[in-house]
Symmetry: C2
Subunit: 73 residues, 2 copies
């Protein structure tokens, strides 16, 4: 994973810490110099390493928000 | 990926379709027979193939919902 260039433009929200100390976070990240996208994934402390995750556009994030608001959680 | 056993217990929400026809979805999925978790990832049509994604517990999904509701999207 070391050769992927990324820049965390904005740390938006901490979601949870896992048993092994990794943090699930929502961030705004530019990958390889491209336009930043919202990004939901697990990170090692200090963002040293990254886990698998998913990127979302603003529209997708809005859709996800609306889905979650429609759920009985 | 073929040897991962999964069962989509509930299809919760369609988020977006990508240019290559894959769907970004929120589902409730049991992986390898374990308790189902919420799951956000891209899927090929008919769930034939899966992309990278992230799993979330109910508490994590609530936290994500609250973060999104606090954002100006």
């Amino acid at each position: 994973m070391a050769d992927i260039k990324f820049e965390i433009e904005k740390e938006i929200g901490f979601i949870a810490e896992s048993a092994k100390g990794w943090n699930k976070e929502l961030n705004l990240i530019s990958w390889n110099g491209k336009d930043a996208k919202y990004d939901l994934r697990d990170w090692a402390p200090g963002h040293e390493k990254m886990g698998k995750g998913v990127t979302l556009s603003k529209e997708e994030l809005k859709k996800l928000r609306d889905i979650l608001n429609g759920m009985e959680l």
